[in-house]
């Protein structure tokens, strides 16, 4: 469900930056959206929590565009399911 994935990413970015999601497209750059370093680490935290993944620092550093975030998450999800490593377990509240 790639569309859903992209939608979810855009929602998270909108929520972190307190901007309307309509302002965000796959072609938007984080810089254009006004993400500074603190916004970016907050975004990474929210993405990791939402998708139950761990985004390594080296991959996080190379992210510039929203579509890179979406494809990066897709790759991470595929890698984690292929390696059979369980997704991060988050206890239910």
């Amino acid at each position: 469900m790639p569309e859903d994935l992209a939608e979810k990413v855009i929602s998270i970015l909108a929520s972190v930056k307190h901007i309307p999601r309509e302002k965000i497209t796959l072609e938007s750059s984080l810089a254009d959206l006004g993400f500074d370093s603190l916004d970016t680490i907050s975004m990474l935290f929210e993405l990791e929590s939402a998708f139950q993944i761990s985004i390594p620092d080296d991959r996080a550093r190379s992210i510039r565009y929203v579509h890179e975030i979406v494809s990066g998450i897709r790759t991470l999800l595929a890698e984690q399911s292929a390696s059979g490593s369980s997704l991060e377990s988050v206890p239910s509240e």
Binding site: H18, L38, I41, S42, E93
Partner: protein
């Protein structure tokens, strides 16, 4: 010898349980209204006490955007709200040169520990894999100073002092030194605290110093302190500069006295607090007889109140019986690192308005506390000079002296 620069208070800002803004806070102080109530910020069913002085009228959304709030623990919010008021109140006009020469000194005992508490709860108890990444910048005790610096573009010396309950008075002492020495030409000084998190309240419970009912300083039936929260700031500048720009002058920050007990982590001495008061008087060039009001540390604990009473007697001698004393913690609670700042604003307003705020919730005096504590009702008084006491756990004492300024 060049005469020492005199330092004026030209702006005040305060937010605490008694209200948001000096006018609202003063109205409550003048009326002797205690803001101690059941705790609402968190569930206290597993805590051994349920009363506190929360800034319940303070609405974060009325002061900050959602993006700003992401970066602000409550203790930093309270500092900023107070700093904004003090700056606005002072009417100071920032020039590039003055911005570089303005100091910021804030006090806080525990900084943004509410943020830390949430983050640690996430990983320790909820088993979450990570802590929110803004935990460090929100928690650091200097966050309040840094936020004030960014808000007004102030680039002079800026730092934070953490000496538990004396933090704010130590901050005033440092600001005074910076201004007197010429290292700064204006200063925003004060403190803030927001201690209402489950872990910290459990720690206070374990100290067995928090009252189950209310705060009754100097009373026979006092049962301890009541925690409070808030922020308060003073805008300080050299008297000459204030007069040159026609500023409203509230009072003169005339002196400060600091001492350490070198005795015990929690048991106060008589000599340490007494020495801090003596040094403050001498630094301000004031005789004990000239002091018309003391805003006491007055926590309402069994240990503090008789010790503070004895210390005052030691310093003031025969004049001790004539000097009106009150503990306004009976109304705004003990706001720890913000206590000295809230009480400084209280003392300044008392001198300016000509009314001494009372010790609220007063029942019957402890025989070991036999001075004039202004029980329950504010009293009209023309005060020429006043002291404000802060004595911290760890035996660190800081007292500041104000001289009234004619309206």
């Amino acid at each position: 010898m060049t005469p020492q620069r005199r330092i004026a208070v030209t702006g005040v800002g305060v937010v605490c349980a008694l209200g948001t803004g000096a006018a609202a806070v003063w109205e409550s102080l003048r009326a002797g209204r205690s803001a101690i109530r059941p705790i609402e910020l968190l569930d206290t069913s597993r805590i051994g006490f349920h009363s506190a002085a929360e800034a319940s009228g303070y609405d974060p959304a009325a002061h900050f955007s959602p993006s700003q709030l992401d970066h602000l623990d409550r203790f930093a919010q309270l500092a900023l709200v107070a700093a904004r008021e003090a700056v606005r109140d002072s009417g100071i006009a920032w020039t590039p040169a003055l911005r570089e020469r303005t100091a910021i000194v804030t006090g806080s005992s525990v900084g943004g520990q509410t943020t830390e508490d949430v983050g640690f709860d996430d990983v320790y108890r909820r088993g979450r894999p990570r802590v929110h990444p803004l935990t460090i910048p929100r928690t650091m005790a200097n966050a309040a100073t840094s936020q004030i610096s960014m808000e007004f573009g102030l680039t002079g010396p800026a730092f934070t002092i953490s000496t538990a309950c004396s933090s704010s008075n130590h901050a005033f002492a440092q600001a005074l030194a910076l201004l007197r020495s010429g290292a700064a030409d204006a200063a925003i000084a004060g403190g803030s605290e927001a201690p209402f998190s489950f872990g910290l309240l459990k720690a206070w419970e374990a100290m067995r110093v928090v009252a189950p009912d209310t705060c009754r300083p100097f009373c026979r039936d006092r049962k301890g302190m009541i925690l409070g929260e808030g922020g308060a700031m003073l805008l300080l500048e050299p008297l000459e500069a204030a007069q040159a720009r026609g500023a409203k002058i509230y009072a003169e920050l005339a002196g400060a006295g600091m001492s350490a007990d070198a005795h015990h982590l929690t048991q106060p001495t008589i000599e340490g607090p007494a020495r801090a008061m003596r040094i403050a008087l001498s630094d301000a060039g004031l005789a004990p007889e000239e002091i018309g009001y003391i805003n006491a540390h007055g926590t309402g604990t069994p240990g503090n109140d008789p010790a503070e009473t004895r210390a005052i007697k030691e310093v003031f001698g025969a004049a001790a019986e004539r000097v009106p004393i009150s503990s306004t913690k009976s109304m705004h609670g003990h706001a720890l690192g913000a206590a000295g700042a809230i009480e400084a604003v209280t003392t300044i307003l008392a001198m300016r308005e000509g009314y001494l705020p009372p010790t609220a919730n007063f029942t019957q005096a402890d025989p070991a506390c036999d001075l004039d504590y202004i029980p329950n009702t504010a009293r009209a008084a023309n005060v020429g000079a006043a002291l404000s006491n802060s004595f911290a756990f760890g035996g660190l004492n800081a007292v500041i002296a104000f001289r009234a300024w004619p309206r």
